[in-house]
Amino acid sequence: MIENILSGLALATTPEALIAIFVGLIAGQILGAIPGLTASMAVALLVPYTFYLDPWVGIPMLLGMFKGSLFGSSITAILIKTPGAPAAAATVLDGYPLAQKGKGVKAMKMALYSSVFGDTFSDIMLIVAAGFLASVALNFGPPEYTLLTAFSLICVSSLTGKSAWKGLFSVFLGMIIGMIGLDPITATPRLTFDYLELEEGIGLIPMLIGTLAVSEALIQMEQPIKLLASSTLKFSKKKIDNVVTWAEFKFCLPTIIKSSALGTMIGAMPGLGATVAAFLAYGEAKRTSKTPEEFGKGSLEGIASAEAANNAVSGANMIPLLAFGIPGDIAAALIMGAFLIQGITLGPVVFKENPIEIYAIYSALIVANIFNLFLGQYLIKLCKHVVTVPKRLLFPIVLVVASAGAYALRGSLFDIQLVFIFGILGYFMLKNDIPTVPMLIGFILTPIFEENLRITLLLSSSHELNIAFVLVRPAFLVLLLIMIASAIIFFKRQKNK
């Protein structure tokens, strides 16, 4: 055992492997910061090249790229309200307001620390409890997914802003947009009006870029000419505004740990993904925070919760992959492909047949986290200078790069048009104080919720207990009890306030 661990560690820490991780991280961080280019895309771009590389150069590079892109996406989310990837959308909620206060560096540093913490937390969980977590996660079927997504939709109410009805309307709007495309059960077109492009459904990336980045750019462009000539973002010169103090980190630590655990659990369940984890953790952090009124105005806790959760998903995605050979998301599926190219079949037997390789993966993951922490500091310094470009130049450039990013994913001109349609919709919504984030959450969760609800109903029709069959599923009952308990705690706290 110890021999295997040491051999694995040696394999992952050769100079070539370390350079590969380093290069992968740099490329990933830059790629992740480009709106529209997601971690999955970063991995997809690199997979073909790994075939020509030594396995222990290609695989560490791939893991580094995956981790780097996750952090990179939060940089643009904080500085210009343009998440590099959907997973960083929740980071916008507090990262951008904090950057507007001149504390962009503090926000980015908190994002970096909580990202690395979340990532390391899920990697440790992967190392010590992969088998157990995977077996728990695989007990989650359509009824549990339905319950979990329904709970998440209810939690959205905590993100609705000042006016509850506007927040709810925004959720419903997102849900309707999420239903456009082929019906998940019958595959009949829904709300497409024979428009072929709509049959694929509305892409998350164009919607995200449009609703968050373009709408904000349109609002910013209304500023007086004098302000548009000034730099996009100003950074405070006070030292305290450019660092995360130990006291601030300590204050956020319980939230970071809780969000990392939540992200790990969601990552272990195939299909939900980092975006859902980030919003769910953000809602949960706000609900249990001592300072919920700070959320949405630049709360460090808000940034920490979203970043810890979305990065925890990355390591946790490897749990079902390593334990059962089931990829948790597209990026995990691509990583699995890269392993197959190198002749390693992931699954239960890999622990017996390739123990050294498994420990090498674990070592590479941990090393990548350490490198990410140091490289992230340099990326922060570099990005600080980018946003000193005047607004009247930066915003048009952002819109063009965002359009290219939106096009890149599906190669569809329609996606570029969607970016601006959603940008204009978001602009009018913001003008009328209708929050846009609940719309995004409604959009992300509805397809998962609807599909699982309908599959649950289909399952119930062939079960002797009918719909009551969900009550004999232990995972469903445990989840239900957790949700009821958290609702009771929430209402008790509200009453005490």
Binding site: L173, I185, T186, V400, Y407, K431, I455
Partner: protein, 174 residues
């Protein structure tokens, strides 16, 4: 003339109510076709979830309508004040910017390609936002396009919408 100003809460509810009714009575019936004899045992009809959400949106608005118009509970937010402080010239500019965005995505990119369309778009927006230095207006868009070309097409092997002018220029970089 000022069509981007914030509507008051009552008007906003009325506009959204009309849109919701239009959605429930026109968009859903014409936009979703359920298979015959499809019901609960088959996992619900495709239109079911759409109707549920449409009705929930309608009920939310009706509730707010009653609050505002019948019980006169109307919290006025301070955003109007924020809007009034915005220069009328800025509002006119925002209309032009929105129009530019639509022209860029619906006309320029599909017809003349991504690179040339984007150059025109960047120049137009920067000009609308007060940039008058010719050196900046002419050089910056081309540098941005070069970076996008090198990053997307050469680096990531992602081909952007075909371009009638730039293809010949950048093509020589191969």
């Amino acid at each position: 003339m000022n069509n981007v100003k914030k509507l008051n809460e009552g008007s906003l509810i009325l506009v959204l109510l009309t849109l919701t009714l239009f959605f429930n009575f026109w968009v859903v019936p014409f936009g979703v076709t359920d298979p015959e004899n499809f019901g609960y045992k088959d996992g619900l009809a495709p239109s079911f979830a759409v109707y549920v959400v449409g009705i929930l949106a309608f009920l939310t608005l009706i509730y707010q309508f009653i609050k505002v118009f019948i019980f006169k509970i109307n919290k006025v937010t301070n955003s109007n004040a924020k809007l009034n402080s915005v220069n009328i010239l800025s509002i006119t500019r925002s209309k032009k910017i929105i129009l530019s965005c639509l022209i860029y995505s619906f006309l320029l990119v599909p017809n003349i390609g991504f690179y040339f369309g984007s150059v025109i778009f960047i120049i137009t927006l920067s000009f609308l936002m007060g940039e008058r230095r010719m050196s900046i207006l002419t050089v910056v868009p081309f540098i941005v396009m070069l970076f996008i070309f090198l990053g997307f097409e050469k680096g990531f092997q992602i081909l952007l919408p075909e371009d009638i002018f730039f293809k010949n220029i950048f093509g020589r970089l191969n």
